[in-house]
């Protein structure tokens, strides 16, 4: 992937935005405008959209995916990708189901989920950094492998015996109406944003993405950090699987099918460069809300899911293409 530096979207600036134009052309500003537009359009089209309880309930549908997207964002910033995240969810859910059948309670199931997810992440990380293999191929392979294991064990069966406590966390609220999964996502986003934007480790992550060679010669433990980020991605997928399994109360081999591409879409729309080295967590969060609320608004209006996916695909391409086209048009007029 070459020559993406020309677009401001991928520019790593050495100073804070100075002029109004600088500020307005920031990716996050565009996303905020998009979010306002989404809320406005949906509120006009349906009276049920702008309702506090409805909106909070809508977060059920994207909070788990959004947790996965946080790990994905970190990996894409260091020029890696993890396409096996949804398959990890399936494998984790399988092991949770087996553990639940053996009588494990909700706390043990959480440990099982986090451990399994982390081990899957270690497998990816070891293959990518230990053997110097391209992450896209490795994770396409482990995607088939992890989901394949779930498929072999489950066949066309489903595991449905889960403790009540797990179901009430997956489907339940903190206080009157704030879903557990949404609160967890917000807390995780806060932690990831702090580490990425406010700590030396975060600067190292950006440095690796901007130039892995130079980072290595600057004494950054490139392989160890990349390995760690694969483990983080696996860990977050495990956590997402814990919430998802609790929410739907069953495990089938096709659980979370296609989520890897949805998580990548959240990250890219959030302004993380697929070429690595730039991106922000607030951007990813804004993209999560834009995508989540668009989906919610349209499903309120009974638009079929597959049609929503057309619009989300168009949104992704348009949002990426429009600034490039606009800039060229401006340059030609000058």
């Amino acid at each position: 992937m070459s020559e993406v530096t020309a677009s401001t979207r991928y520019r790593v600036s050495d100073h804070a935005p100075r002029t109004l134009a600088d500020f307005l052309l920031r990716w996050e500003t565009i996303l905020v405008a998009l979010l306002v537009l989404t809320v406005a359009v949906n509120s006009i089209l349906t009276p049920y959209f702008l309702d506090r309880d409805n909106l909070l309930d809508a977060t059920f549908n994207f909070s788990e995916k959004a947790m996965i997207a946080l790990g994905m964002a970190l990996l894409i910033i260091v020029r890696d990708i993890d396409l096996s995240v949804a398959a990890i969810v399936a494998l984790v859910s399988l092991l949770m189901g087996l553990a639940a059948q053996a009588g494990a309670d909700t706390g043990v199931l959480l440990l099982v989920a986090l451990a399994t997810g982390s081990v899957c992440g270690m497998v990816n990380g070891a293959l990518v950094t230990g053997l110097a293999l391209p992450s896209i191929v490795v994770t396409i392979g482990t995607m088939s492998l992890f989901r394949g294991i779930a498929q072999v064990s489950l066949g066309d069966q489903a595991l449905t015996k889960y403790p009540e406590a797990l179901l009430s966390i997956g489907q339940g609220y903190i206080g009157a109406n704030v879903p557990y999964s949404f609160v967890t996502f917000l807390l995780l986003a806060l932690v990831v944003a702090f580490v990425l934007h406010k700590t030396p480790l975060g600067r190292r992550i950006f440095a690796i993405g901007a130039n892995p060679e130079a980072s290595k010669f600057s004494g950054i433990p490139v392989a160890r950090i990349r390995f760690g980020l694969f483990v983080v991605s696996g860990f977050l997928s495990g956590l997402a699987a814990w919430f998802l399994t609790g929410r739907i109360g069953s495990t089938r081999p096709n659980i979370a099918q296609g989520w890897e591409l949805e998580a990548v879409t959240m990250v890219i729309l959030g302004g993380v460069s697929i070429a690595g080295g730039s991106g922000t967590i607030p951007g990813v969060m804004l993209a999560v809300f834009v995508l989540g609320l668009t989906t919610f608004g349209m499903s309120l209006m009974n638009v079929p899911g597959i049609v929503i996916s057309v619009l989300l695909g168009l949104l992704l391409i348009t949002v990426l293409a429009a600034p490039i086209v606009a800039r060229r048009w401006l340059a030609r007029r000058r």
């Binding site: 053997l131 293999l133 396409i140 482990t142 088939s144 492998l145 057309v310 695909g313």
Partner: protein, 330 residues
């Protein structure tokens, strides 16, 4: 050019066929083996097209969605005008597929958006458009004219027309990639984009060409898929893009660009075809298929990365060290 990797893969495939044959002799009869190749015909073509894309350091995730959408378009055309000649259907399929590929090409080559992002977006759009244009309906063989359905059933010299079409596409790919300057240019931009540019090879032009070709092949396969299975709906070939990429990886095509051969890609596809067809024969649950292909992809990419290190003539120790570093940091 040596074909060590291809020979190794061919030997492995042969060993699998012989091994399965020992347990189930019916598998190794000529008609059964021809059946395997017929079954794999579409994968051969899609793998070759994907290889051309991968050579340029690109990726086309939209092929399966393109295939399904084009299949629906030709099925709708056949229902609307049953008398439409089959040649027109094929031209429509190739043309429509190429047009969808051209959309990718313009976004990638014209606007410089990374291929993985563009084709991820168009994957969702093309797949969803099937639902939109057919209003969610399923078209079955009842909606298709007999001539439309006849092509995949036709035989010539005892072989299915699918095999002949795949053979034709393979020969065309071989000639294009090895004996035309446009084909060599794909290797050049993937092998070393900077050097290619200094040689006057324009990356954007190669991308424009290669994504359009990929779309055209996907379109052709869309017609063949729908007419062979006699059904068109929004979920056909769902996730198949990853099978195609897996076949490329197994066949030794490098995802980092510049490396790949026509025989390798064909063998990669054949490998998956043999596995898919052999499992039920030896009474292994088809649920194993996914796990096995995952393990094989990992094995293939490990083997390929080992052998890639020995290629190229590195004379100086510095150059060798630099290459090792580059491989470690990539």
């Amino acid at each position: 050019m040596t074909y060590r990797r291809e020979i190794l893969l061919a030997v492995i495939i042969l060993a699998i066929v012989v091994g399965v044959g020992l347990r189930a002799p019916a598998f190794v009869t000529p008609s059964s083996l021809i059946g395997v190749v017929t079954d794999t015909s579409l994968l051969f073509m899609l793998t070759l097209a994907q290889m051309a894309v991968l050579l340029t350091r690109g990726i086309d995730l939209s092929v399966a969605a393109n295939l399904a959408l084009t299949g629906m378009v030709v099925a709708l055309a056949s229902r609307a005008a049953p008398g439409i000649p089959i040649a027109a259907i094929i031209v429509l399929a190739v043309g429509f597929g190429a047009a969808l590929g051209l959309i990718n090409a313009v976004l990638i080559a014209g606007l410089g958006i990374p291929p993985i992002v563009v084709t991820l977006g168009t994957l969702a759009v093309y797949r969803g458009m099937i639902f939109v244009i057919a209003h969610g309906a399923w078209l079955t063989s009842k909606d298709m004219s007999p001539a439309f359905l006849a092509v995949p059933k036709a035989e010539f010299l005892g072989l299915s027309s699918l095999i002949w079409i795949a053979a034709l596409v393979s020969v065309a790919a071989w000639v294009f990639l090895n004996h035309t300057s446009a084909g060599r240019a794909l290797y050049a931009v993937g092998g070393n984009p900077v050097a290619a540019r200094y040689c006057g090879i324009d990356l954007a032009r190669q991308q424009l060409r290669v994504y359009t070709i990929s779309g055209a092949v996907a379109g052709l396969c869309g017609y063949l898929w729908v007419s062979r299975y006699g059904i068109a709906y929004s979920d056909i070939a769902i996730g198949y893009e990853l099978t195609v990429i897996a076949a490329c990886v197994i066949g030794g095509v490098s995802i980092a660009g510049g490396v790949g051969s026509v025989p390798g890609a064909l063998l990669g596809a054949l490998f998956l075809g043999v596995i898919v067809n052999a499992l039920p024969v030896i009474n292994v649950s088809p649920f194993w298929q996914m796990a096995i292909s995952g393990a094989v992809i990992l094995a293939a990419v490990i083997v390929n990365s080992r052998s890639e290190r020995q290629t190229g003539k590195l004379i100086l120790p510095e150059a060798r060290r630099k290459a090792a570093n580059a491989a470690g940091g990539a």
